[in-house]
């Protein structure tokens, strides 16, 4: 039995295989419509989510399976003080696979230590979000046709942005990928991630200016400054409008730039950009369903 807690647990070959399956699902969804017939997915979401939870559920339904679960801690026994370990011991008797989102970092790892069925980390606080990374990788692959030789800009909250941390880890495996890390000083990428990049000899630069960075980028990954990651409302208000992508900033960008965003967006991408051919974030959200279908099949051992 295998869980997915951190994107680093997947080999490059396994990621390539998942992307290949996702692309095959996109080209022929009917072929997969009964692959998980009779199987159940439990979505244990202790924190609000739209895309992740609904795309997991849609993924399982489109594979012919069923779904049960809760969508906030208030609707579960967590509100009565039940531990993650106990909840998972119980729920793993009700479902064949579990997707868990939790505000505390490491909660899905704890779940995987006690579960009888595979656990998928659907986001643990500001830490990891491997299925978002798979979604991002599928999007990059569909947009660019490759992972190598890319300049990847990541902009916004790079400190608490779990999608950023996971994406850096995954993209750093490929040849000649350069990262441009665009953030205010208070929201820089944590030191442990930079240490790993240094250790692996991966090129990166840190900058505060989106305008200066944008001309060289092949990918621009925008993120939201998340209110829920701040203990201090003042800090949130001071930093939330730091980077807003609009058409004037995009003027200096490459014609084939791909703009990604894990969504939800608040105001960091102007709505005027939505119709620009470089905007990929709504396709990205759709890709999330297909890659989760591929992942569910893999972890359930369905061919």
């Amino acid at each position: 039995m295998r869980s997915l807690i951190d994107i680093k647990e997947l080999s490059t070959q396994e990621i390539d295989e998942l992307i290949a399956v996702a692309k095959d699902i996109i080209s022929d969804p009917a072929k997969y419509s009964e692959k998980c017939k009779g199987k159940k997915l439990a979505t244990l979401f202790y924190e609000a989510s739209t895309r992740t939870r609904l795309s997991f559920e849609a993924a399982m339904y489109e594979l012919g399976g069923n779904v049960l679960g809760f969508s906030s801690a208030d609707n579960s026994s967590a509100s009565k003080g039940e531990s993650v370990a106990d909840t998972v011991r119980v729920c793993s008797g009700y479902a064949d696979i579990i997707a868990m989102r939790h505000p505390k970092e490491g909660a899905p790892l704890v779940a995987s230590m006690h579960s009888l069925v595979p656990i998928i980390n659907a986001g643990d606080g500001g830490h990891n979000h491997p299925t978002q990374t798979l979604t991002d990788l599928l999007t990059i692959n569909r947009e660019k046709g490759r992972f190598e030789n890319l300049v990847v800009g990541l902009c916004g909250d790079l400190k608490f942005g779990r999608t950023v941390h996971s994406l850096i880890g995954a993209m750093a495996r490929y040849n000649n990928v350069k990262f441009v890390l665009i953030s205010p000083d208070e929201l820089k990428v944590p030191s442990y991630i930079k240490q790993e990049l240094d250790k692996d000899g991966v090129e990166y630069v840190e900058t505060r200016s989106l305008e200066d960075a944008i001309p060289e980028l092949d990918i621009l990954y925008m993120t939201r400054v998340q209110r829920e990651r701040f203990f201090n409302e003042e800090d949130y208000l001071r930093l939330k409008d730091t980077y807003i992508l609009n058409m004037s900033k995009l003027e200096k960008a490459k014609e084939d730039l791909s703009i990604l965003h894990p969504l939800p967006r608040v105001n960091e991408i102007s709505v005027e950009i939505d119709n620009d051919k470089r905007a990929c974030y709504f396709e990205q959200a759709l890709n999330g369903k297909y890659i989760r279908m591929a992942l569910i099949m893999k972890l359930l051992g369905v061919e």
Binding site: S83, K104, G106, V110
Partner: protein
């Protein structure tokens, strides 16, 4: 003081100068009823200055705590006035319930009776990270 002044006990040698009190506290040596000598700033050929702890009773030392706090320390087991065993302690790969994670966002901050486990992720700089949230531990400050 020389080693053979102890008949049966433990001598912790080659402690970085100034480190003996941290080890004394972390190993709960204050709870022992026997004689414990703390020697600070002893002259050492190898280290210049070092600290030494002498415990006049055979006790089980928590080697994970010791290896984490004082990598490179030498543990001498004294029996009948002689060094019966001498071990050099390397930093442990994993430490369980020695230190606690201080990241308020970590699952260890709320999950009942969850062991605090840290892994050595950077041998050169002796960096330990929480297995759950990957936060770097702040040395000495997080001793449980």
């Amino acid at each position: 003081m020389i080693l053979n002044t102890i008949t049966n006990g433990v001598v912790l040698d080659h402690i970085q100068a100034g480190g003996a009190m941290d080890i004394y506290k972390a190993l709960n040596l204050d709870k022992l009823g026997c004689q414990v000598a703390i020697i600070k700033n002893a002259t050492s050929v190898k280290m210049g200055r070092k600290d030494i702890l002498k415990i006049c009773e055979p006790i089980d030392i928590n080697l994970d705590v010791l290896g984490y706090l004082a990598p490179g320390v030498t543990v001498n087991i004294i029996k009948d006035g002689k060094v019966a065993e001498r071990r050099h302690i390397d930093p442990p790969e994993t430490i369980k319930d020695v230190i606690r994670c201080t990241n308020p966002r970590c699952i260890t901050s709320i999950e009942q009776e969850l062991p605090n486990i840290f892994k050595l992720t950077d041998k050169e700089n002796l960096v330990y990270r929480c297995i759950y949230c990957e936060s770097k531990c702040k040395k000495h400050g997080d001793i449980k």
